[in-house]
Amino acid sequence: MTMDAMLEISDCSVDFGGLKAVDSLDLSVAEGEMVALIGPNGAGKTTVFNAITGVYRPTGGAIHFKGQSLDGMQSYRINRLGIARTFQNIRLFKNLNALDNVMLGFNSASQRHMIGTMIRSPESEQDREEIVRRSRELLDWMGLSAASAACSMDLPYGQQRRLEIARALATQPKLLLLDEPAAGMNTREKQELAGLIERLRKEFRLTLMVIEHDMKMVMSICPRIIVLDHGRKIAEGNPSEIQNDQTVIEAYLGEKPVAAA
């Protein structure tokens, strides 16, 4: 636990009617870090993201972002503090085009009042142009400029994942949570994504938390890895430490029940 942690999760638990999806988790992420969250299926990784973003209210413990407690805060407020995320099962606005999806990310940044848009005031028109410009910039960044007018539902899988990241970036986050960004991608796409994430981190000065199953990718881009199993943190360290950790190997191979460890 460090004082300068950007995200501080302390003794956090999430219960689902007796089932502890997250069990007394302590976790902290410093500004500028890139942390991977790994673990077998059902280890509670996504639940951690859900707890951070206000989907589930932790049954115990606390989550602080930049020293502010997130307890009981609604998702949209948490986002406005500077936390954005993507989803394991891509949740784009399916029937809207790519540009609209990204523009919606700027929704809370737009200062114009609705009344202005009703009467088409020049200010609101400018505001719109500005947001369109910035959205196109983001699409360019993610290599999606050709797809901007396409219905997001019709985009190939890899592009949908990148679009979701672009939408999250539009909210100007400090902390970005990526939930299995490489799922369903082939090796080449994964490599591109890894490079892209690295560039994004520098360009937007992001702090990142990534849930990922592809160990090769995780090991190559994340200096620090946290391993969850049955809702508990079972290991934490740099890639080589994790690779040689006996508890982690057991958790993945399922040789021994981890609860005994």
């Binding site: 986002n79 609705m114 088409r120």
Partner: protein, 336 residues
């Protein structure tokens, strides 16, 4: 100045409507005039419900309830305030079309505001309900509104309320919802709903429909937007109610605003395409004219509607237009 330029098209349209008003009143057969007014009211109802059900994806089954609030409030203002005053001042709706129209306009606006307030009262507690629960809750609210009116003797209860007094008491013809007032409101309603839905901020309404939770994780205050949709939608339902109360016979009964009326509006929105404003307009026009055009059809009207609903859902669930819009040809490229 720039703002004015941006809206020039709108003013031209309103001007044309006003000019048409005098031409139509003079030369159009009263029967067709009535149908035209009905069409305008139906469009306001369909487009405003489309904002709630289609664009924001919050399935309301209580639109007729808000229409009832607008109708009864506007009618009451007309009967208890405007008409006695006009009579006292020796004014007649015939000779003072503009003055009378404005007074009735005020009544209609107040009706709309009251309907919007009712929408707020309904919306705040129920908007956290999802899908079918919201449908039943709004249906319930619509029924409660109707039953309250049914039990209010001052507005006639079950017997209904006559908005226009006998001609002798008025000293002339009463002020009716003329073509101009109905279509002016229709233009305002369509413009506001379209601009709201396709503005930078208002796109959030579509986002809520598509994925409410994802919308909230990108900083969209979903409750606030749902309330805005509900407020705007019920406001225009109230306006439509007020105009309806002052149209044709000027006679309203609580039974005219029952669940069946709500469902009729839903049918228009669904057939037109949930989320498509032009679709809602087309459906409103067709479904209002069809029963008039096909004599003897009225018995089968609801049977056909219900079959259409089922067939559309089974074969083309996105409705006639899907989410697409017809645009003015010269603006198609601009994407305004």
């Amino acid at each position: 100045m720039k703002t004015l330029q941006n809206n020039i098209f709108l003013f031209v349209l309103l001007g044309v409507t006003l000019a048409l008003n005098f031409a139509l009143q003079r030369w159009l057969d009263p029967y067709y005039y009535k149908i035209l007014v009905d069409v305008g009211i139906a469009i306001i109802l369909a487009v405003s419900l489309n904002l709630i059900n289609g664009i924001t994806g919050q399935f309301s089954l209580g639109h007729a309830g808000f229409m009832a609030v607008g109708a009864y409030v506007a009618a009451s203002i007309s009967v208890f305030l405007v008409q006695p005053w006009m009579q006292g001042a020796g004014l007649s709706g015939d000779t003072n079309l503009i003055a009378g129209g404005i007074l009735v306009g005020v009544a209609v606006v107040v009706g709309g505001i009251c309907a919007a307030l009712a929408g707020l009262v309904v919306g705040l507690p129920t908007l956290r309900l999802r899908g079918d629960y919201l449908a039943i809750a709004t249906l319930g609210f619509g029924e409660i509104i109707r039953i309250v009116i049914l039990n209010t003797d001052q507005v006639g209860g079950a017997r209904g309320m006559s908005v226009f007094p006998t001609p002798s008491a008025m000293g002339g013809a009463p002020v009716k919802s003329s073509f101009f007032w109905v279509f002016a409101w229709m233009i305002v309603c369509v413009t506001i709903v379209a601009r709201l839905a396709h503005s930078v901020k208002g796109k959030a309404l579509f986002a809520i429909r598509e994925d409410e939770f994802a919308a909230s994780t990108i900083g969209i205050d979903t409750t606030r937007y749902k309330v805005i949709a509900f407020l705007t939608g019920s406001f225009f339902a109230g306006i439509a109610g007020g105009l309806f109360a002052h149209s044709s016979t000027g006679f309203i009964t609580p039974g005219g605003f029952d669940t069946q009326k709500s469902i009729e509006i839903v049918v228009m929105v669904v057939l037109g395409g949930l989320g498509s404003i032009s679709g809602a307009i087309i459906a409103a026009v067709v479904l209002t004219i069809m029963p008039e055009a096909l004599r003897g059809f009225s018995n089968y009207r609801m049977v056909v509607y219900s079959l259409l609903l089922i067939i559309v859902m089974l074969t083309r669930p996105q409705g006639l237009m899907g989410m697409k819009e017809l645009r003015w040809p010269w603006r198609a490229k601009a994407g305004g």
